[in-house]
Symmetry: C2
Subunit: 80 residues, 2 copies
């Protein structure tokens, strides 16, 4: 079973990596970009057969290690 | 219009960040994780009304700046 965790900075938290990419895109001539936010996409390959259990476990992983919940939010998607 | 670009390392390219996360998850007691790959998720807010044109532009951004196509692949999703 595959789980995809998208971790992104909360609204209002400064994203210097995104700002840098935005600036670079503008320099390259891409004028109609309003904002750029850069997050992480974590793809986990799991030994699990039960979708609900997998979701619960990945939630625990996200809370303890994958995301810094002070400044980051995350979404979890279980695939197949 | 919002565009989401997922950038991830090609298969076979070593992912030290993913390896570290995998190791840390195992140390924390999450035993049934087989592998972890970590990529980037870039969310762009665009001034565009035409979906096809937006897709074309984001493709160009990905090729020139957002992804290193030697070692990385990317997918683009245009939202609303």
């Amino acid at each position: 079973m595959k789980a995809i965790v998208n971790v992104f900075l909360k609204d209002g938290v400064l994203d210097p990596q995104g700002k840098a990419a935005h600036h670079a895109l503008k320099s390259l001539g891409f004028k109609n970009v309003n904002s750029v936010r850069i997050g992480k996409q974590i793809v986990l390959d799991l030994d699990a057969t039960n979708k609900d259990e997998a979701l619960k476990e990945v939630e625990e992983m996200s809370e303890t290690l994958l995301a810094n919940t002070v400044i980051e939010d995350y979404t979890i998607e279980i695939v197949e």
